[in-house]
Amino acid sequence: MEPKFAKGGKLEKWNPVFESFSTLAFTPAEVTKKGAHIRDGVDLKRTMMTVIIALVPCLLFGIYNTGHWEMVAQYGNRDLPFWDHQWDKIWEGLKVVLPLVVVSYGVGLTIEFIFGIIKGHSLHEGFLVSGLLIPLIMPADVPLWMVGVATAFAVIIGKEIFGGTGMNILNVALTARAFLFFGYPTSMSGDKVWMNTLGDRLANGAENLDGFSGATALGDLATFMTDQATVAGQVITDKAAVMTAYTNNYSLMDSIIGNIPGSIGETSMIACLIGALVLIATGVGSFRIMASFFAGGYIMGILLNALGGNAYLDLPAHFHLAIGGFAFGAVFMATDPVTAAQTATGKIIYGLLGGMIAIMIRVLNPAYPEGVMLAILFMNVMAPIIDHYVVQANIKRRLKRLKTA
C-alpha cells in the first residue's frame, strides 16, 4: 500500500494522512542520521497520551456529574442523592458528553489533516490533547454546532496560522472557550446554561423549583456582589446569612468532590488533582507552574479577605481553589508547555501571576464570573515577556563575568 502514497505515487497528496495513521500504528523505522546515535524512548505521541490519561479521571467524573445534573433538571429535584441511579446518570452523561467529544475531535482533526495535506506534514500530536480539553471546559448544554465552530476557530486562528503545534501563542482549548464566551455569552454562563430541560420546565410553569437557580457556584457567587441572595423566595441581605445560604448549596466538600454544576470536566478538584499527580509523577506537567498557580490564587484570596467588604471578598481563600475551573486550569491549561513560560524561573512567575489574576478577575469583575480562562490567556500573551526578562538576567550574569574577568 505504501508505494501508492510515496513520492510520485498515485495518492502522493494524501501521504500526510497515510503517514499519520501508519505512525499511529507503528513507530517508523527511521534511524538516527546525524548526531547522537541513540534517542530517548519517549516521543511526542507518548507525551500527549500521558496527558490524555491524566485527563481520564476528569472525563469520567464529568460524565457522571453531567448525568446527575441532567437528572436533577428532569426531576426538578435539587436534592436528588448524588450517588443514586448510577447507571442512568452515566447513560445521561454519555448522551451529553460523547457527542461533544466526537464533534471536537472530528472538526479539529479534519482541519489538522487539511493543513497537513497543504503543508505536506503528518498530523502533529498537539490536537490529541486539545480535542479532549475542549469538551471538558464546555458547559453541558452548549449546542454542538457551537463547539464545532469554536474548535474550528481555535485550530485555525489559534494554532495553524502561527505554524501549527509548538508555535501557537494562546492555549488552543482556551481559545475555543474564549471564542464562545465572547461570541455567544448567553450560552456560556448565566442561569440557564447548565441544565437544558430546566429552562423549558420553568417556561411551562413547573413547580417545586424554589431556591433552585440552575447557576454554577460561581454564578451564584457573582450575585453576592449585590450582597443578597434569594432563599425560598425571600431576599436576604445579611452577609453571614448569604454565606450560609451559599454553603448550603455548595459546601467546600461538594466543591472538592465536584458534585456541583459546572463545565463538564472542571468541577471535581479531586479528579483534577489525580490528573496533577499523573502529570507531575511522569514529569509531563510542570510542578512549578501548578504549585505557583495554586499559591497565586491562595495569596490573592487572602489579600481580598483582608480587603473585605462584601460576602464574595470575604469568601475564605481556600474556597477559591476548589470552585469553578481553578484546579482544572492550573493543572491542565496553565501547564501547556507551548504557551506557558519556558524558563524555570519564568514558570514560577507565570504561575503565580496567573493564579492571582484568575481570582482577581473572578472576584472583582462582576461581568466575568470565572477568571481562570481569561487569566491564563492573558498570561499566555505575557509569557514571552516573562521569559525575555529571565533570559536577559542570564545574559547579564555572563556580561558581568566578562567585566570582572
Binding site: 534511524v31 546515535h37 530517548d40 500530536e125 505554524g163 508547555p337 519556558q342 555572563r398
Partner: protein, 454 residues
C-alpha cells in the same frame, strides 16, 4: 587552589556492553586512514599523492589555510587511495601499510629547556598539533592564538566510555611529559579535572605543575566543556585549549622517545559484541581487524566514538583521530508496533530520562540494549524544561539552540555560544522529545560565529 564542583544535572545512559578490563593487542591492520572529516572545518591540501610511499610521521596533507598545521601518517606504507565525497571533498586518505613497521629508535627531546614557541614548533612539525583543540568553536587550535588555559579531563563520562584510569595506568611518565610540554604553551594554568565519584589513578593524582580540580556528577561531568564552564569560563575573545587525556600521553611519549607513535588503547563496547574489552591499536586503524569475530548480530551500527557524539563507520571503516572507543549497537530500522514496542508500549525495555516509561519506575539500575531508532518523528519544540535537566551549564539550552537555528548571531553571543561545543548538547539531543538534531544546529551556529565573528 584545587576546587571540587558538584553537578546536580546530567544523565548516565545505562547501555549494555561495558568494556571488561582485559587488554588484547590487535595486530596492525593492513590499511589505515586519516580522515580530514575528523577535523571540523579543515580544508586539506594534499602533500602526498596516490602511490607515494610515506614513512611514519611524514606529512600526508596540511591545512589549506594554515600550512603550519600538518597531518602526518601514523605508520609507514603506500598511499593507496584518496577517497572523495560530494563536490570532490576529501573524505579519507587510505594508506596500505608496509609489512615492517618500526616504532623505535628516536632521540628523546628535552622539554624542560625549551621555550613555548619551540614546543609549539615541535608539535606542529611532528604532526601532533591536531591533538590540541580550541574552545570556542571546537576545532583544531589555531597556533597563533594565546590560550588563557589548557584543560584536560581525566575521565570520560559518556555512555560505555573507556576508563582512563585503566587506560593510562602505569603511564604517568608519558602523561607527565605531555603535561610538561603543554604547560609551556600557555601563560595561564593547565587544568586536570578528576572524577570525584571514584578515586583516580596515580597517573592523574601525581600530575605535577598543573591545577587539579575535581568534579562530581553524571554525564556530561567528564566533558571538558562542562569543566571549563565551572572552573574558568570562556568569555568572548578568549581561547581555551583542550587535549584528551590519552593524547596528552601520546604527546608525552613523543618527547620521551622522539618517535611519532600514535598507538592508542581503545575500548570496544556495545551490546552487540561478544566480549567488550580494551584493545591496543593505532589511530586510523581499519576496525575490521579489531572487530573480527566479535559482532554477534547482523544488523548493527558501528560507531567510532561513543553513541552520543561518535561517527557511523562501515564494517571496514577506520578509527577516528580523536576516538578512544568503538561502539556497536543494533540498527533500529524496523517498524515497531504501537502496543508492544511503539509509543503505547509499557516501555520496560526502553531507557528514558523521562518517567513516562515503566522502565523509569521498575527498571532499577538495569542496563539497556538500545538501537538507533529515533523512537518518534521530528516535531517542533513542544516540551520545555527537559533539556535543562541534562545541561549543567548556566546557559539556557533551548534558547541558545533556537538562536542557532535562526542564525541569530547576537543572540548566540549573548546566550553563551562561546562556551559550548556540539558534544555538550549531545545529551540534550538524546532527551529531546521532538527529536531535533541539536548538535547539528549548534555546529551550524558555531560555524556561523567562526565565519562572522572570529
Amino acid at each position: 587552589m584545587s576546587k571540587t564542583v558538584k553537578l546536580r544535572k546530567g544523565l548516565d545512559i545505562r547501555l549494555l556492553g561495558v568494556a571488561n578490563k582485559i587488554k588484547t593487542v590487535a595486530a596492525l591492520p593492513e590499511t589505515i586512514a586519516i580522515k580530514p572529516t575528523d577535523f571540523h572545518g579543515m580544508v586539506p591540501k594534499m602533500v602526498a599523492k596516490e602511490g607515494d610511499h610515506v614513512r611514519m610521521g611524514d606529512v600526508i596533507f596540511h591545512d589549506k589555510y594554515n600550512e603550519k598545521i600538518k597531518y602526518a601518517s601514523p605508520a609507514s606504507g603506500t598511499v593507496q587511495s584518496v577517497v572523495r565525497g560530494a563536490k570532490r571533498k576529501i573524505m579519507a586518505v587510505v594508506i596500505k601499510l608496509d609489512a615492517e613497521q618500526n616504532f623505535e629508535g628516536g632521540t628523546p627531546i628535552d622539554v624542560s629547556s625549551m621555550s613555548g614557541d619551540q614546543v609549539k614548533e615541535k608539535l606542529l612539525a611532528s604532526g601532533l598539533w591536531p591533538f590540541i583543540k580550541q574552545r570556542p568553536i571546537d576545532i583544531v587550535a589555531n597556533p597563533d592564538n594565546e590560550p588563557k588555559a589548557i584543560f584536560i579531563s581525566a575521565f570520560d563520562s559518556s555512555p560505555l566510555a573507556p576508563d582512563y584510569d585503566y587506560v593510562l595506568h602505569g603511564r604517568s611518565k608519558e602523561f607527565q611529559a605531555g603535561l610538561d610540554a603543554l604547560t609551556k604553551l600557555t601563560s595561564g594554568k593547565v587544568h586536570v579535572t578528576l572524577n570525584d565519584n571514584a578515586p583516580a589513578d596515580e597517573t592523574f593524582t601525581g600530575a605535577q605543575g598543573v591545577e587539579i580540580n575535581k568534579i562530581r556528577g553524571k554525564h556530561p561531568a567528564g566533558n571538558v566543556g562542562t569543566q571549563i564552564h565551572h572552573f574558568d569560563p570562556i568569555n568572548k575573545g578568549e581561547f581555551v585549549w583542550v587535549v584528551n587525556a590519552q593524547d596528552v600521553a601520546i604527546i608525552g611519549r613523543y618527547f620521551l622517545t622522539g618517535v611519532y607513535n600514535l598507538k592508542r588503547k581503545i575500548a570496544i563496547t556495545g551490546s552487540e559484541l561478544k566480549d567488550p574489552h580494551y584493545v591496543d591499536t593505532i589511530i586510523g586503524a581499519n576496525v575490521s581487524v579489531i572487530l573480527d569475530g566479535q559482532i554477534t548480530t547482523d544488523n548493527v551500527r558501528i560507531i567510532s566514538g561513543n553513541v552520543l557524539t561518535g561517527e557511523k563507520i562501515e564494517n571496514d571503516g577506520y578509527l577516528g583521530f580523536y576516538d578512544n572507543q568503538i561502539t556497536v549497537i543494533p540498527e533500529g530500522d524496523e517498524l515497531k508496533f504501537v502496543m508492544t514496542k511503539g509509543w503505547m508500549s509499557p516501555g520496560l525495555d526502553k531507557f528514558s530520562n523521562n518517567r513516562l516509561l515503566l522502565s523509569a519506575w521498575f527498571g532499577g539500575n538495569k542496563r539497556y540494549r538500545m538501537d538507533t531508532n529515533t523512537n518518534g518523528e521530528e516535531r517542533a519544540f513542544v516540551i520545555t524544561g527537559e533539556l535543562e535537566k541534562v545541561f549543567p551549564f548556566d546557559i539556557l539550552p533551548m534558547q541558545l539552540t533556537k538562536a542557532a537555528i535562526t542564525d541569530d548571531i547576537d543572540g548566540m553571543e549573548n546566550l553563551g555560544i562561546y562556551e559550548v561545543a556540539p558534544e555538550d548538547f549531545a545529551l540534550c539531543e538524546y532527551v529531546c522529545t521532538s527529536k531535533i538534531n541539536i548538535q547539528d544546529k549548534i555546529r551550524q551556529g558555531l560555524d556561523l560565529i567562526h565565519k562572522e565573528c572570529m
